[in-house]
């Protein structure tokens, strides 16, 4: 396979395929190397993609026949959970069901496959079942290609784009990216639970083809900084739960046990009860934020998406950041290879573009949000407990006057949290999200 390409892309996920589409459409000779059986077969995510980013590469893709879209998200909810209940806020609008759509639930194994076909149609070569094991450099240290696990599996190119995901033992070994620290990732498990299309419509009270996302925070992960999601697909529900890996290590919790407990939670249970498990997965989320973004470029290479730790922890956005940086990396490759200069100096422009885009701006804006969650355990323990007790107090009609109830809440607040503590958490949180 010793062949020379213009551009080598490692990984056929949303970032890599985006790069491939841009570069191949621009006339470059592109190879994408994927270790899975097919694009998407090694990919796991929460469950939604963002139409605006995809449309930049495949205009009006939603009109395509057999497009593997599960549902258009028309209802987005935030849920603050305690052990007995949940407080929720949400926004639902039929507008998001109209064209152009906004957020779409998809299965990665199906969607990435479709997306990869677009790269193939543009002329990119996609090689599956092939693991990239080593980064090849010349004697000046410049990246010149990759070594795959196949016999005679060296592939050479003018440039390499790393889109191999958050784990990326490849770039770690090559010294391109530092190894991930446990406190900078969330370990999450997800179950795909089949309840049937009609049941999804009924239980989540949505029209056919429309769906809901629940972003859940609270005490469902014991004392860990537990975050859970519940997204609707066509006939299944994606239920995920995760926490900072460091906390899993310290708290001695087991992911699948936590998942089983979540399914029994009074808020969650009615949605998934009686369903059949279709798939169980696990994955990391890069939650370290701005400070953990590695250098995005070097002599002959670029980093994209999860490999570059790009994830908006507050808004739970990841695939759009991957696709946007994938696209920008593809554009950079076109330009650099076109000019015949793929040196570190030339590729620095990619970093500038990423930082000037919403990707860099959002990462910077929410700098430290992941650590804010990690370091403020009260948000996941006494605060949700207090919120639950307050709601129950105010909603329970028991003959006590509302003033009495307010006094009880105030007392409970003073005992449990105290104004200073709340102000401190509030102030820290506000500084991050403002």
């Amino acid at each position: 396979m010793e062949e020379k390409f213009d551009l080598i892309i490692v990984g056929a996920g949303p970032a890599g395929i985006s790069s491939a589409i841009v570069a191949a459409m621009g006339g470059l000779k592109v190879i994408v190397i994927e270790r899975g059986e097919f694009p998407g077969s090694k990919s796991v995510f929460g469950g939604v993609v963002y139409a605006s980013e995809i449309a930049k590469l495949v205009p009006e893709f939603w009109n395509e026949k057999r497009i593997p879209i599960e549902r258009r998200i028309t209802d987005s909810r935030l849920v603050y959970m305690n052990d007995n209940g949940a407080l929720q806020v949400g926004y639902k609008t039929g507008k998001f069901a109209e064209d152009p759509p906004n957020v779409l639930s998809v299965h990665r194994a199906k969607f990435d496959r479709w997306f990869a076909k677009k790269a193939q149609e543009a002329g990119a070569l996609i090689i599956c079942n092939t693991c990239v094991e080593e980064v090849l450099r010349d004697n000046t240290g410049r990246v010149t290609g990759v070594r795959t696990g196949r016999p005679d599996g060296d592939v050479f190119g003018k440039m390499v784009i790393f889109a191999d995901g958050i784990q990326s033992p490849l770039t770690v070994r090559a010294g391109i990216r530092p190894e991930v620290k446990p406190e900078n990732v969330a370990l999450s498990v997800k179950e795909n639970i089949q309840i049937g299309e009609e049941e999804v419509n009924k239980r989540f009270s949505v029209k056919p083809g429309e769906g809901v996302t629940f972003e859940m925070l609270g005490s469902m992960a014991d004392d860990m900084d537990g975050v859970a999601i519940m997204y609707t697909n066509k006939d299944t529900v994606s239920l995920g739960v995760g926490a900072n890996l460091k906390q899993w290590m310290v708290n001695k919790n087991t992911p699948y046990e936590l998942m089983d407990r979540l399914k029994e939670h009074p808020f969650v249970k009615p949605f998934v009860e009686g369903g059949t498990l279709k798939e169980y997965t696990a994955h990391w989320l890069p939650e370290g934020g701005w400070d953990t973004i590695p250098k995005l470029y070097g002599d002959g290479y670029l980093l994209t998406g999860d490999t570059a730790m790009l994830f908006n922890t507050l808004h739970r956005e990841g695939t759009n950041l991957a696709q946007a940086t994938g696209r920008m990396a593809g554009e950079m490759a076109l330009e650099a290879i076109g000019k015949g200069d793929t040196s570190e100096k030339a590729l620095k422009a990619y970093n500038t573009r990423v930082m000037k885009s919403f990707v860099g701006k959002d990462m910077k804006k929410y700098k430290g949000f992941g650590h804010f969650l990690f370091k403020n355990k009260d948000l996941f323990s006494i605060l949700p407990e207090f919120v639950g007790e307050t709601c129950e107090e105010m909603l329970r009609v028991d003959g006590a006057s509302k003033r009495e109830k307010q006094a009880r809440i105030k007392k409970n607040f003073g005992r449990k949290i105290g104004l200073m503590k709340l102000l401190k958490i509030g102030w820290k949180g506000w500084r991050i999200v403002r």
């Binding site: 270790r35 033992p169 991930v180 890996l245 699948y256 279709k278 798939e279 696990a282």
Partner: protein, 94 residues
């Protein structure tokens, strides 16, 4: 409550004969048992690591390739590689 085995049964695997995970030095695991309580046996979402009297048994066949053990082992005692191309977990949905 379902068991982890029941969960993993729903996930598709193409198992390679050669393990992609290895314990570098089993004697560290004994130390870890006393000092850290062997977190890998607890946080691994696929229950790959099982302590059996004097050694850790690595059930790599059901590994979900999340990578947590690689960085979560207090002794960085786990040699972690991706399975060969085309092997390992193969998601149907993802």
């Amino acid at each position: 409550m379902s068991k982890i085995e029941d969960k993993l049964y729903t996930t598709r695997f193409k198992v390679d004969e050669t393990p992609h995970l290895k314990i570098a030095d089993q004697s560290n695991c004994l130390k870890c048992l006393k000092e850290h309580g062997q977190p890998c046996t607890i946080f691994c979402p696929a229950k790959v690591y099982i302590w059996e009297e004097d050694h850790i048994n690595v059930v790599y066949e059901g590994c979900l390739e999340c990578g947590s053990c690689r960085i979560g082992c207090p002794y960085t005692n786990i040699t972690w590689n991706f399975p060969r191309g085309g092997f390992g977990v193969m998601f149907k949905l993802g």
